[in-house]
């Protein structure tokens, strides 16, 4: 068997691993194994190229791999689960950056034609993915405002940078990708694409950022596929295409969960209507607040309680206290469920991860469609650090979250909000529910408040 044959076979094994990984990740039972199969495929692929290819600078390459691993593993191991979305965004961005660099270095070797076009495509899209991901990281880390940012002439600049990048690509193509003139044009392409990536993500509101991460993820997949075409490497082509296709589907699923078409998520702020949040301030309106003891009594004598957790719960690290409360209520024969909105937390499914971390039994977690009919027969709903996902404003037209499916919390007998302040949620709109007659507010850090409720409950 020739060398090329066994290299191709090894790549085929790796590609199969990636398909099995995605398949496995689609079901809770097989998800963890799926991920490990994917990792195995990646290791096979890297070992194959290291052993088989005729590589110069091998020690330097191995050192670079070591540096990357040393940087990545502690970050991935130690990041708090609440900060995980931004880490995924960052990992995606550096992948896009790597693809752009690979394509840039390949420009002179393509010999023109379709491979050169694919290289230029990768330089553009990879750069957009890199700078866009960095901006999503900054937004989620709250290093810059989570609100949509629209600078003067934003659409013109965005389209301008894209058109400029494409125009320079044409120049580069005309020069056949050769050194000097074409190289400078390609640098210009990369710079303009980086600018376009920043302008692309800036107008997206905080609540919509996860959808953008997913989209940029799909973008990076496509660049990897294009790199596979340029380098005549079937494995890169398959892996990149798989990610591009599945990422596209995932982006659409997420957008559906938010109840809005993907275009209004991305460009809404430019037209003046995404989660831009024209903040309606309702600071002077009367609300009903209660003490932890009142809340404990209400809970202790309820028959059915639904907990609606949100990002505030995660930030306060209150998952474990919620679990403790749930155990106490279970001892009192109170039926307790968790109503999980698809986009609770910062990413779809994020809340499930956080509650699983606190050992909350899987079967108590109810998805929105399952839990919504149950609110009418519920005595107490405990909303912990959630806001937009229970905001009835979503049912009316003309608000930033209009059309987003919500949890019908307002149908329950009593609603208790654990909130730090009257500040509106991530989408930046006031919540009518807070002023309703059957709503009670318990102000304070979610964990402090819950701890007080738990100790009050123990003393009953």
């Amino acid at each position: 068997m020739s060398k090329q044959t066994w290299v191709d076979l090894a790549y085929l094994v790796a590609a199969s691993c990636f398909v099995l990984a995605l398949k496995g990740l689609s079901s809770p039972k097989s998800a963890r194994n799926g991920n490990l199969i994917g990792a195995a495929g990646a290791i096979i692929a890297v070992l194959t190229v290291l052993i088989s290819a005729d590589l110069h600078h091998l020690p330097l390459i191995l050192a670079a791999i070591a540096v990357g691993s040393v940087a990545a593993v502690p970050a991935a191991r130690r990041v708090p689960m609440t900060a995980m979305p931004q880490l995924v965004a960052l990992f995606n961005g550096v992948g896009g950056g790597a693809a752009a660099i690979v394509a840039f270095l390949e420009l002179k070797n393509t010999g023109g034609g379709f491979p050169l076009i694919a290289s230029l495509f990768t330089v553009i899209v990879g750069s957009i993915s890199f700078s866009g991901s960095v901006v999503t990281f900054l937004k989620l880390q709250e290093l810059i405002t989570t609100r949509p940012v629209v600078i003067p002439l934003h659409p013109v600049l965005f389209v301008g940078s894209l058109v400029g990048a494409v125009a320079l690509s044409v120049v580069c193509f005309a020069k056949g990708g050769a050194v000097d003139a074409a190289t400078y044009a390609a640098i210009g392409v990369a710079v303009l694409a980086l600018v376009a990536g920043v302008l692309f993500v800036l107008p997206v509101g905080g609540a919509d950022v996860p959808i953008v991460i997913s989209l940029l993820n799909a973008f990076t997949g496509l660049t990897v596929a294009a790199s596979g075409y340029v380098l005549d490497n079937v494995l890169l082509l398959i892996a990149g295409t798989l990610v591009g296709a599945s990422g596209t589907i995932l982006t659409r699923l997420m957008a559906t969960a938010m109840g809005r078409p993907i275009t209004s998520t991305l460009f809404g702020a430019l037209r003046g209507g995404s989660t831009a949040g024209a903040t309606t301030v309702g600071a002077d309106r009367p609300v009903r607040s209660a003490s932890p003891d009142d809340v404990a009594i209400l809970l202790a004598y309820a028959r059915k309680v639904i907990v609606v957790p949100g990002y505030g719960l995660a930030v306060a690290q209150a998952q474990h206290t919620v679990r403790e409360l749930a155990d106490l209520l279970a001892a009192r024969d109170v039926e307790l469920l968790y109503g999980i909105h698809p986009v609770a937390g910062r990413m779809p499914g994020h809340m499930n991860v956080l509650l699983a971390e606190a050992n909350v039994p899987y079967e108590q977690l109810k998805e929105m469609d399952e839990v919504n009919p149950q609110f009418a027969t519920t005595d107490v709903v405990l909303v912990i650090g959630a806001n937009d996902v229970v905001n009835p404003a979503a049912r009316q037209p003309g608000t930033p979250i209009s059309g987003m499916p919500i949890l019908d919390v307002d149908q329950a007998q009593n609603v208790i909000f654990l909130k730090r302040s009257m500040r509106p949620g991530f989408a930046g709109i006031d919540n009518e529910l807070l002023y309703q007659a059957n709503t009670t507010l318990l102000f304070g850090d979610a964990k402090d408040s819950l701890t007080k409720v738990v100790s009050a409950l123990k003393n009953l």
Partner: protein
Amino acid sequence: MSGGMGLLTVFVLAVFVGFEVVSKVSTTLHTPLMSGANAIHGVILVGSILVTGAAEGAVEITLGLIAVVLATVNMVGGFVVTDRMLEMFKGKKR
């Protein structure tokens, strides 16, 4: 298999596979799935290694090595963080 037509065939088939494998996934798994897919495109590391191995001159080698570092971060970090997420689901499915 190589050559334009062969690669195009592979591309089209991979699109269908990509669509098919994730078409019915519950929202619970959206985050780990995104993260796992993210790790898979870290395989651009293979491309980065190939390009760096053929690089000439300080500028090219430096750029190539940067790509290798970035791709490694993407791949290694991606799989590790996905595993950490999924670790939390274990033991709850009696």
